[in-house]
Every structure is written in structure tokens, then in C-alpha cells.
Point group: C2
Amino acid sequence: MPNKGVTIKDIAKAAGVSTATVSRVINGYQWVTADVRKRVNAVVERMKYTPNYNASAMAKGKSDMVVILVPSILNPFFTQFISVSMHELKDAGYVPLVYETDNVTEEEMAFLAGPIARLADGIISVTDCIENEELIEVVEPFRSLNKPIIFVDRNLPANIADSIMSDNFEGFAFVVRHLYELGHRKIALILSNQGVSVVRDKVEGYLHALEELKLPCREEYLRRSGKWTRENGAEQAACLLDAADPPTAIIAGNNTLTLGVIEEMIHRNLFPCQSVSLVGIEECERDTLDFEKLGVSTLRLDSTALAKAACRSMLIKLGEDEQPAQDNHTKTVFKMKYTERASVARISD
Amino acid sequence: MPNKGVTIKDIAKAAGVSTATVSRVINGYQWVTADVRKRVNAVVERMKYTPNYNASAMAKGKSDMVVILVPSILNPFFTQFISVSMHELKDAGYVPLVYETDNVTEEEMAFLAGPIARLADGIISVTDCIENEELIEVVEPFRSLNKPIIFVDRNLPANIADSIMSDNFEGFAFVVRHLYELGHRKIALILSNQGVSVVRDKVEGYLHALEELKLPCREEYLRRSGKWTRENGAEQAACLLDAADPPTAIIAGNNTLTLGVIEEMIHRNLFPCQSVSLVGIEECERDTLDFEKLGVSTLRLDSTALAKAACRSMLIKLGEDEQPAQDNHTKTVFKMKYTERASVARISD
DNA sequence: GAATTAGATGTAAGCGCTTACAGATACGAA
DNA sequence: TTCGTATCTGTAAGCGCTTACATCTAATTC
């Protein structure tokens, strides 16, 4: 299906110079007389020439392309992460492109192990489905090609790559402790059954705090099923609220689940009243509900900060010209920030 | 920064065959004995070889890559569009990748005119900032390379490319007429100042209906400012509600503005009560508020349908092996669907 | 057993660009 | 005049793959 297409040779011929000179002009190198430069540019303009990216990337041995790999593009957390990252990377002269794996392990594997990942100069992966052992395998080609790969929001096995994450364990443990102090004893947590390390960390933080406080872990309060969607949040909330012995506080495990829980509570006229306390997760600033205005207490995962940190790491790696100290990977951990608002109430036992 | 990297030659040598044979094995061609195939695969496996995408794409003259260009990744409409498109394209064996222009005209131009766009075998563009005259320029290289480019949700100048769009004009006109029938005479419309054709079509539909109904167009009711964000929706709604002579009905111009308006109304305790009627725009099924549950009347732009139609067109174009009838472009228009719910009330004059 | 043929593999010419290196030119200095 | 020297410009060798074509082998046919 591809057709003709003007090549650098055509330009060279038309401008009466060599392809080398054309290349120099296109890439803005010095040592070309203003005269020649002008002539070449004119021809480029006239013939509507655009360099072939493949050919250029191959010859140069780099593409200036960075791909951002996300599990879902339907979740505002990733969406904001992408948006911020794109800005950062563009500003630094790279071309960011996004691929979505839709939370399926095989997709993540295939992509990371596949040729497109090789096309990019670097990968920022926010995916979280591959188990750690497999991950080590997947990462291998990158280290041997010496291409940076940075993992975001996932608890990595020791030192296989750079990682940027939030302290889910501590964040969730904190919330449980806090609710306990306010008198809550029946604390529920809603999660999905997708993902690996994120879910694990959240559950462990929750369980750790319960144990610490000598509270029993009640099966029916720890809900890990379905997807990371609003619908699922509403559904899980409904189950909890319909239970024989409903919890007095609900922690929603991520941003979209939070929306679902709120929706269900509004629907049942439990919001903004306070017979059930709610702690939501806030993962981005815009284009979802305004938790402050609505008075929802939240634990905040700052996707903008994660994105900036991830890009900074990427740009540093990309900038290291000579054989970098391959195995010197950094791990950046962001604390989650809790904000108390009207949706959480003190209860008298 | 790139490093060693196993090439097809290494594999060929290690397996004791020619590079041609390795290539055949990798690409799954016939005419290779099971024996050789096995041997080569073993070496590929052992040496963790992944073909160089650039080289392959260049030699083949195609990349199987399709890029989806969107103005904003923060809006669920695009997000859903992307998600659906990615599925469709993956299923057909292509590699979809996303680029966001953040609603800036120069970005759109630069990308479409730049080399990455050339890398892809096809482009699906959902961008809407470039004026039509410039667009014709931008599209030219694609037609000369015979690469398909499909525009979504934008009213294209005659026959320069395939396009998939929704009937904004008729949709908005319909809503105005409908509100009129219910007794409304003071009907406001909230839009952003971004975009080109979409805003134009919506405004024209609105104005057309007003004129038809012999209603005056009141400046203060036609709000086209700010961005397509929830915050802006809330802000514009606040202005309208604070006005000396507030409208009796508000039409929100897109999905995110709708959220903002609802938020502002909840905040003012005007929702779900009915002293002001609201028609929202619904552009995706998930991960935003559930308009049905909340009783918001909506005009629906079906992003899933648009995505499927866009991909179908793309796949057809991509499949046309021989010199396709270049100038035979199709235009698919989807009607918008109005659903009445509690947020719209009849008023007695 | 020779001729034919189909299948398996290798050879080598690109794909469109970059870039090390060589060659050319102009200028001034010795 | 003869060399540097400093600037341009061209030549050509790749980058890692694909693929048309040539070659070779072994099976089939008569």
C-alpha cells in the first residue's frame, strides 16, 4: 500500500548537492554555507519532504522515542500521569507515545518483550500485572541493550530497574489506625482483583494495622474482586452496606472505586450524611469529582509527582552518554497524604 | 547510549544458517524444515533475540503501526475512544500508539507534518484545532505517500480524507427545540473556546434552533470560554446561576463541562431538584458519573461507535493492496441520541 | 537411470538515512 | 610560490532487516 514518497536522494538531486549535505541541513548541523542551506530548504519545502523516521532512527541508532506503558487508559490516574509525562518528555525533545495493555498480563509481557519496546529509546512502565519472577526475564533485554526502563507504582524485586512508587503499605495502614482512633472497629477495604504489587501492598498495610490494633480481619470486610471501575466500586459498596453487620467505615482502594462508592452512597442517601464513614483515594487533580468540595476524606496518591519523578529518572538515564553504571538503580518512594474531610466521623462505641 | 544488541546475523551464525532463513523463521514463513525452524528458535530463545523494529519496518516498507492522535487524554471521551480503538486495531494485528497534542494547534500541526506520523502506516486523528485551510496542507503528504488518515469528530472540508463524526448541529438544535416545547425560553449553552469545527457546529445548531423558534440569542446565555474541563463547567454554571436573569435551562457542551455543571448544582443544592433544567452530554459509558442513576438528561455522543467506525475505515484502507481510489473518501455521520431524565422539567410560562 | 520438479536454503541487493573520512576550495602566512 | 589551515562538500560504508533470485538437494516420474 505505501507509495512513492520523496527521499533524501530526490532532494539532493533537485538541489544539486549530495545526500550528506541534505542530511546536514535537515539535522541543523553547522558547516553548511547559508547559501546551500537556503537552497536545500527551499527544495524540501517545495517537494514537501519529510525524513523517513525509520531510516533515520536506524542510521542514528536511536529514535528519541519514549513509550509509556499503562494498564488502563480509562482511569484518570494513568491519564493524568500520561499527560504530565508527555509534557516533560516533549519539553526535553523526546517523542512520547502511549500503549495500553488493558490490564492483561500477556499484553504486558508481549509488549515489553516485543519489538516496539525495542524501537523506543526508553520505556516508562506503569503496568502491574506481571509477577516478579517473570519481570526479571522481561527486563533482561533492556539491560543488555542498555535502554532505560522505569517502573512506576509497583513494588519491584530488588534492583532490577529504576522505580518510582507511593507508599501504599504505610498509607493504608495509616488510614486504618486513624479510623481506629476515631472509634471505628469495623473497617472495610474495597480493592479489585487486578494487579499484583499494588494490591498486595495495600492489603498488607491494612492487615498490618489491624493486627497491630488487635482487630480481627473479617473476610467480608476485605473485598478484592472485580475490576478497578466505578461500577465495581458501587457494587462492592452495595454488598458492604447490605451486609448483616455493615462496617462503620469504608476505605476505597483507588480513585475509580471511590467514585463508585460515593455514587452508591448518594443513591442510598448516605451521602453527605455520616452514618458510614468513607475514605477515598485521590489520584489526580482534575476531571473527576471534586473531593474537597464534596467533603470526601482522601488518601492522596500524587500522580503528577510520580510522573515528574519518572520522567526525571528517564531523562537522566537517557542523558548518560557513556556506559552507565547499569546496576545502579534508584527507588523513589512518595508518601501518601491523608486529608480529613466531612465524610469521616468520630463514632462513640 | 545504545549498546551491543543481538542481531539477525548473530543468530544466523550461531544457528549455522543464513540470515534469510532466520528471517523466514521469525516471520513464520513456510518453506523451512521443522528441523531448522526448531534450531533457529532455540538460538533465538537462548540469545534473547528480538528483531529490530526499525530495520524490519524499513525493509518491509511498512510498520503495522497506527497512531491515534488526540487533543486531550484527560477527557473520558477520548480515553474511551482510545481504549476501544486499541482493541480493534490490536485484534487486526496492528500496533496502536497514542499521542496527545494537549489542544495546541502547533502540536497538532507539528505531529501531523512530522516524521513520526510518517512512521505509522496510518493515522486516526481526533484533533480539532487546525483550521480547515491548513488542514488541507497537512493532509497532502499522506495522500502522496498513500497512507490513510482518518479524522474523527470534526467537520472536514470537502473530501480531503475519511471522516467519522457526530451530528452536533442537529443534536444541539434538537435539544433547544425540545426544551422550548417544555416551556423553556431562557436556554443557555456552555462551551469552551477550544477546538474549531466541533464548537462551530454546536453553536450553529443552537443558534439555528433559536432563530427557527424566534427566540432572541442572548449573549450572556451563550458561553464560549475557558477549557473543556470540569472546573470550567462549574465556573460557567456559577456565572449563569448568579446572573440577574438566570436561564431556566442549561445545556452543557460536552461531558466534562457537564460534570462541572452538576457539581456546581449539587453544591448549590439545585440538584437533583428542578428549578433549573440541565441537559448534559454523555460521551462514554464508564468511569464518570452514572447519568442514568443520577437522573441527568443527556445528549449522547457514542464514542465507542465512533471508534469502531474509525477503525473499520482504517482497516479497510490499510487492507487495500493496490493503488486505492485515493480520492474516494467516506464520511460517516452518527446521530446523537437524547435521553430524557429527571433533570429536565416542564415549566409553565 | 535420466529428466523433471518441488522444496529448502543461501546470496546479495536494497530500504532511506547518517557519518567517518577524504577531497576540494579559499584564504592567509611563510 | 608553496604550504598550512579552516571551511565546506562529496563519497561510500554501514545500520539490521527483507526478499527476489539463484542454487542445491532430494523426491518423483517415465
